[in-house]
Amino acid sequence: MKALALAIVVLVGGLLISATVDFPDWGDPASPAALHVSPRYIEKSMEETSVPNIVTSVLADYRGFDTMFETTVVFTAGVACFLLLRRREPRPGPSRVYRHRASGVIVEMSQAPDTEPAPEVFKRIDDDWTPHDLIVMNVCRLLIPFIQLFGLYVIAHGHHSPGGGFQGGVILGASVILLALSWDLRTASLRMKEVATGLMSAIGVFIYAGVGALALAMGGNFLDYAALAPILRVDPVAARSLGIFFVEVGVGLAVMATMVLIYKNLASEGRLDQGL
C-alpha cells in the first residue's frame, strides 16, 4: 500500500508541478484571473450593492446561490451527524456520580436511583471525572457573553469589515461549545435544547432560501434582492444591501445551531448525556 501511495503521489505531484510552468507568476497584477471577471466586482460593488466589503457582496449577492448551498452543506452535515450517531438508550453501567454542592463531597451511587436527587443539593458529574475548577468555570462564564456579543457584531458588521454569517455563526456556536467544555454538556443543553438546535439550523437555511423565494414571488429572479425593494420601501441598491444582511442572519443562525449539534453528538457518542 505504501509503495502504491508513493507512486500515485509522485505521479500526481509531477503532473501538477509541471503544469505550473504555464501559470502566471504569483501575485502578477496582469494575470487572467485579475483581469477577466473580478474587476467588475471590485469596481461596481459599491455602486450596485452599496457594500464596501467586496467579499461579502460577491458571497451573498453576485454568487449568493453558491452560498445558499454552502449553508445547506453545513445543515446537511448536522443532520448527517444526528442521523448517524444519535441514540436514545441510556449509557450502560448503573453507577452515577454526584457532588454535594455545600460541602464539595463526591458521592458515587452504585445503584442508579429512579429519581434524581434534588439538583440544588446534589450536582451530577460526568463519569470521566474532572476536578471542579472554580477558576475555569467562572472565567468562562464571564467570557461567554462577550464572545456572543462579538459573534453578533461579526454577523452584523460583515458589510464593512471582514466577517459575516459564517464567521459570526461559528463564534456563537463556539461560545456554547465553550460552555459545554468548561461546565458540562447538561448545562449547555439546558441553555440550548436539542430540538432548538435542530429547528434553528433548518430555520436558518430557510431564511436564506425564503428571502430568495420571496424575491421570486415578487417577480424577480430567485435571490434577486432588488425585487424586494417595494416591500422594504427602499431603492433597489439599498434593498440589495438589506437582502445581504437578512441572508447573513440566516447563515449565522444555521451555522451556530449546526456546530452545537455536531459537537454534542460527537462529544457524547450520540447520547447527549455527558460530554468531554
Partner: protein
C-alpha cells in the same frame, strides 16, 4: 411561472427538505407528505422544463439577476432537461417504494432520513441544471455528504464502507475543485460557456491538459470508473436498500452526465479530438472496466454486491461511448444514461423488495423466490433482460448504438468487451434465476436447520403493494423506453450532439 422552472427544479425540493427537517422534530407524520411534495414539485417542473426546452430551445436562467459570467446561471438544453426529468422521476418513484422499509427499519429517524433523501436529490438536480463550474462543486458536495450519511446508516460493515467512500469521494471532489482552479488561473472565469470561449486559444498548453486530466480523474473517482471503483461495491452493497436504490441508479449516471457536460461544453469537442492518445487510453480503460466489472461480479455470492459490480461495468459502457469520438457512440452513451438509470433502479428496487421479505440478499436467501414472490421476480427478470440487452427492453437499443459507434470507430476491443459483458450478464442473471426457480426452499445449509418443513408448498409472501407498484412501473418503463427509443434519439439526443464529432 414557466420562466421560473429552472429555479423551481432546485428550490422546490430544497425548501421542502427544510420543512421535512422541521416536521421531523415536531410532527414526524408529516415528513413523508412533505418529501413527496418536494419531489413532486421537482418532477413536475423538470417535466415542464423539458417540454419548454423541446419547443423553445435552450433556457438560460440568471440567479440573483446577474448576467454571466459575473453571476451564476442555469443553462438548460435537451441534455440537462432530460437528465433532470429522469432523476426527479426515479427519485420520486423510489420515495414511494421505500417508505415501508424506512418505517420498519428507522422508525425514530424518519425526519433526518427524508431530509437527507430530498437534499440528495436536490444536489443531483442542481448539478444537472447548473451552468457554473464552481456551483457544480458545491452541489456535488451536498449529494456526496448525504450519500455518506445514508450509506453509513446501514448496519454491519456499512460505516466502514461509507468512510472509505468518503475518503475517495473527497479526493475526487477535491481533484475536481483543483481542476476548476487550474482553469480559473489560466482564464479567470467560472462560467462554463465563458470558459469554452476563453479556452479555445489555449489548446495545447500544458496547464489546460493538466486541468483536464485532474478534472476527469476527480469525476471518474465519483462515478467509480474502473481503476478507481474500489469504494462502490461495498458502499452500495452494504447500504440500506432505500438508499441503495436511490444512489446506485442516479449517482453514477449524474456523474457520467457531468463528465459529458465538461467534455462538450467546457473543453469542447475540438480539444478532445485533438488529444488522440488520451481518448485512446480512456477507451481502453473503459474496456478494462467492462471486462473487470463482469469478472468480479461472477465471483460474488450476494445479489446486491453482484449488482454493484454490474454498475461498475455499465459505467465502462458510457465512458467508452462518450470517448469513442463519433456521433453514434455519443448518442449511445447519452441514451444509455437514461436507460441504465431505469434498469439499475429496477433491479436494485427488486433487491430491496427481496430484502424486505427475506432480510438478506445472499444467494442462499433467494431459493424458491419465484414461488414466494412471483411479481418481484418478474420485475427482476425484466431488469435482467434489459441489462443483457434483449430487444423489446431498452438496454438493447443503447447497446446497439454503442456497438455501431464502436464499429464505426473501428475499435474492436470496445465492441468485443461490450459483447463479452452482455454475455457475462446472461450468466450472472441466469444463475440467479436458477437458484430462485429450481432449488427447493430449504436445503439444510450448514447451520440453517429448522428452516421450515422440508419440500412443503411455499406460501406466497409478496412484498407490500407500496413497493410492488413502483417496481412494476419501473419494469414497464423499461419496455416503454425501449419502444420510445426512436423519438428519444431523434427529438432529444441528436440535436445536442456537437457537430464537431465525426
Amino acid at each position: 411561472m414557466s420562466e421560473q422552472y429552472p429555479a423551481l427544479v432546485v428550490i422546490g425540493p430544497l425548501l421542502c427538505a427544510l420543512l421535512v427537517s422541521v416536521a421531523g422534530w415536531l410532527r414526524p407524520r408529516l415528513c413523508l407528505p412533505l418529501a413527496l411534495l418536494g419531489l413532486g414539485i421537482a418532477a413536475s417542473s423538470s417535466t415542464g422544463l423539458l417540454a419548454q426546452v423541446l419547443t423553445h430551445g435552450p433556457v438560460t436562467y440568471r440567479l440573483g439577476g446577474w448576467a454571466p459570467p459575473w453571476g451564476i446561471v442555469y443553462h438548460v438544453d435537451n441534455l440537462n432537461a432530460v437528465v433532470a426529468a429522469l432523476v426527479s422521476w426515479v427519485a420520486l418513484t423510489n420515495l414511494v417504494a421505500s417508505y415501508r422499509a424506512v418505517m420498519t427499519d428507522y422508525p425514530e429517524k424518519i425526519g433526518p432520513f427524508y431530509t437527507l433523501y430530498v437534499l440528495s436529490v436536490t444536489g443531483m438536480l442542481g448539478m444537472v441544471v447548473t451552468g457554473d463550474a464552481f456551483n457544480l462543486y458545491v452541489l456535488l458536495e451536498i449529494t456526496s455528504l448525504t450519500g455518506y450519511a445514508l450509506i453509513g446508516l446501514g448496519g454491519g460493515r456499512a460505516p466502514l464502507a461509507s468512510l472509505n467512500y468518503l475518503f475517495l469521494g473527497t479526493i475526487g471532489a477535491s481533484f475536481y475543485l483543483l481542476g476548476v482552479g487550474y482553469l480559473y488561473i489560466v482564464t479567470g472565469s467560472l462560467n462554463m460557456a465563458d470558459l469554452a470561449k476563453l479556452l479555445t486559444p489555449l489548446h495545447g498548453s500544458l496547464a489546460l491538459l493538466a486541468a483536464f486530466a485532474i478534472t476527469l480523474v476527480g469525476l471518474w473517482m465519483k462515478m467509480a470508473f474502473f481503476p478507481l471503483h474500489a469504494w462502490l461495491p461495498n458502499a452500495y452493497g452494504f447500504a440500506p436498500s432505500p438508499a441503495a436504490s436511490l444512489l446506485a441508479p442516479l449517482m453514477t449516471k449524474v456523474m457520467v452526465y457531468v463528465m459529458i457536460r465538461v467534455m462538450i461544453s467546457v473543453f469542447t469537442v475540438e480539444f478532445i479530438l485533438s488529444e488522440v492518445a488520451l481518448s485512446h487510453f480512456v477507451v481502453w480503460l473503459a474496456v478494462a472496466a467492462m471486462v473487470a466489472g463482469g469478472l468480479l461480479a461472477l465471483g460474488q455470492r450476494d445479489l446486491k454486491r453482484m449488482l454493484a459490480y454490474i454498475v461498475v461495468a455499465e459505467v465502462g459502457y458510457m465512458v467508452g461511448g462518450a470517448w469513442l469520438g463519433n456521433k453514434l457512440a455519443m448518442t449511445g452513451a447519452i441514451l444509455h444514461i437514461i436507460n441504465d438509470a431505469v434498469m439499475t433502479f429496477c433491479v436494485f428496487l427488486a433487491a430491496g423488495c427481496i430484502y424486505q421479505k427475506t432480510r438478506g440478499t445472499a444467494f442462499e436467501d433467494l431459493q424458491g423466490l419465484f414461488k414466494k414472490m412471483p411479481w418481484t421476480m418478474t420485475a427482476l427478470a425484466a431488469g435482467a433482460l434489459a441489462m443483457i440487452g434483449v430487444p423489446p427492453f431498452c438496454g438493447f437499443f443503447s447497446k446497439w448504438y454503442l456497438i455501431r459507434g464502436g464499429l464505426e470507430a473501428g475499435h474492436w476491443g470496445f465492441v468485443g468487451a461490450l459483447l463479452f459483458s452482455s454475455l457475462v450478464n446472461v450468466v450472472l442473471f441466469f444463475r440467479i434465476f436458477e437458484i430462485a426457480f429450481f432449488e427447493p426452499m430449504s436445503h439444510g445449509h450448514g447451520g440453517h436447520d429448522g428452516h421450515g418443513e422440508q419440500g412443503g408448498p411455499v406460501a406466497l409472501a409478496e412484498a407490500p403493494l407500496s413497493m410492488l407498484l413502483p417496481l412494476m412501473a419501473a419494469a414497464l418503463g423499461l419496455i416503454a423506453l425501449g419502444l420510445a427509443t426512436g423519438p428519444l434519439v431523434e427529438k432529444i439526443i441528436l440535436p445536442i450532439i456537437p457537430a464537431g464529432l465525426g
